[in-house]
């Protein structure tokens, strides 16, 4: 999807103007913004050309403003794979050499989590615009350091929170801010998979290098790799940040197969100042429920993943004749037990719901790399625009910052077996998404 298609989608939603006033980072998707950079190219270097790096490269190939001039990876097979897409790009095995390359204007960092903070700061110090994959950093302190350094330098910094650019999320959040589902009373996020989360390792000494996600030395596991995407839903919907965090995590299945030390089963609860809870649950040894993100309101529910709106309001009852027929049917079909239970299971609603916009593109969440139409391409496109213009979009960084901080805080709560609040020193100015 290009900018035009994105805005066309927004237009179909009848919300382009509203969305731009509520969510100003979408400004870079407008026709006006496109004209601003017409004919110009952003010269990009990719640091980390593994699966996610190549996913970005494939998107960049389709974007007019992109010119990949440098590639970097310290694992040669990945670097050579990426070079096939951009044969003219300079190849580096040390990211610092790429940062010294004056031809590179902006970098996309798709490396293991423990490198994000250091590489982002080094890149900003080298005068580059930076797009770094989520999560923003490995620790709470490091995330703050990145945030502050960007503020000092005024650099362009994007973090890979692509939902902010996914039309169905934008539409859903607009509806929530308009009060379509009433007061937000709960936020449910879950992400279930049934796979070992491993990449193929050609030789045993490369295990930690390639499967870094599985080791706490390099990753915070499910919280930083999956939850980080979903945790912004609550803040985006309610316009506030969680007050306290608690959670529990354990290794219940995949540790029988390998020597990983990150949890394969986590549950976290985030409580907001108004008392509303947001939950995140992930299990990677059962995939029945897949990925889900639901905003529960006093008048209805919006499923962000499927782009469906379900109302809790009573459905129109139909004509008198319909109601009569229904009453007769109920009479005929009713259970005539004479000493049955007075309790009936409160099963979920089977109401079919309404799509929030035409042609909703549903992403399953099964892929560990990325998916079509999940907002990633629009996010990278917006980054290219920012590289050329040097303008940092409003609010996006703060949202990414807090998504990272709360993912890390929940991980900490799990390991310390404690209920935690984000210390004041980690709080940066926050203008809620959706506030005008």
């Amino acid at each position: 999807m290009n900018r035009k298609e994105f805005l066309s989608d927004c237009g179909k939603m009848g919300m382009a103007g509203v969305a731009l006033s509520l969510f100003p980072w979408l400004e870079s998707c407008t026709e006006k913004a496109k004209q601003e950079v017409h004919g110009e190219k952003a010269r990009i270097g990719i640091i980390g050309t593994g699966s996610r790096g190549v996913f970005h490269i494939k998107n960049l190939l389709q974007l007019q403003q992109a010119e990949v001039v440098a590639l970097c990876d310290n694992y040669r097979p990945h670097l050579d794979d990426a070079a096939q897409y951009y044969p003219k790009a300079k190849l580096y095995e040390d990211y610092r050499q790429l940062l010294d390359d004056k031809n590179v204007q902006g970098v996309i960092i798709a490396t293991p989590l423990y490198l994000h903070g250091r590489m982002t700061i080094d890149a900003m110090n080298a005068g580059k615009s930076v797009f770094c994959e989520k999560s923003m950093a490995f620790t709470l302190d490091e995330a703050l350091e990145v945030y502050n350094r960007r503020k000092e330098l005024g650099s362009v910094l994007f973090i890979g929170q692509q939902r902010l650019f996914d039309p169905k999320y934008v539409k859903a959040m607009s509806m929530i801010h308009e009060g379509v589902i009433g007061d937000v009373v709960g936020v449910r996020n879950y992400w279930y998979r049934n796979n070992d989360w491993r990449r193929e390792v050609p030789s045993p000494e490369l295990e930690r290098h390639i499967n870094w996600r599985l080791y706490r030395e390099y990753s915070r596991g499910l919280m930083t790799e999956l939850a980080c995407h979903q945790l912004q839903n609550g803040s985006w919907a309610m316009g506030m940040l969680p007050e306290k965090v608690m959670g529990s995590g354990s290794l219940i299945h995949w540790n029988k197969v390998d020597k990983r030390d990150v949890y394969d089963c986590v549950t976290a609860i985030f409580t907001y100042p108004n008392g509303v809870n947001m939950t995140f649950e992930s299990i990677i040894s059962n995939k029945h429920f897949g990925m889900g993100e639901q905003i529960l309101g006093s008048k209805g529910t919006i499923d962000l993943v499927t782009g469906m709106h379900y109302t809790d309001e009573p459905m129109p009852k139909g004509s008198g004749m319909h109601q009569l027929v229904e009453q007769i049917e109920r009479g005929v079909m009713s259970n005539s037990v004479f000493a049955g239970t007075s309790w009936a299971a409160e099963t979920g609603s089977t109401a079919p719901g309404m799509p929030i916009m035409p042609n909703v593109k549903v992403v399953t969440g099964e892929s560990s790399v990325g998916a079509e139409a999940d907002g990633s391409k629009e996010l990278v496109d917006a980054f290219l625009h920012a590289v050329i213009t040097g303008k940092q979009p409003e609010k996006v960084l703060e949202e990414s910052y807090y998504a990272t901080q709360f993912a890390l805080l929940a991980d900490k709560a799990m390991h310390e077996n404690a209920i935690l609040t984000l210390e004041d020193k980690y709080r940066v100015p926050y203008v809620p998404l959706g506030s005008r």
């Binding site: 008198g320 004749m321 319909h322």
Partner: protein
């Protein structure tokens, strides 16, 4: 093959019976409009359902009449 001839009097009688069923179905419609507090324009908008209901009534009546005719024949013998 022999033609089946339905006398005009029978046709008239059946039409009158169906019209009675139609009136009865309309009465049912008025009753449910009052009972379920639905709008009065349903007198017209539900005319399709009312017509179907009238045929249901007519069919039920036909079965009753057939049963009556059979029983009366049995007792006559």
């Amino acid at each position: 093959m022999k033609d089946i001839v339905i006398p005009a009097a029978v046709v008239r009688r059946e039409i009158i019976i169906w019209l009675c069923c139609f009136v009865a179905a309309n009465i049912v419609n008025w009753v449910v409009i009052i009972k379920f507090a639905t709008p009065w324009y349903e007198i017209f908008s539900q005319i399709g359902y009312v017509t179907i209901t009238s045929f249901v009534f007519y069919g039920l009546l036909l079965m009753l009449r057939a049963a009556w005719w059979l029983l009366s024949r049995v007792f006559k013998k």
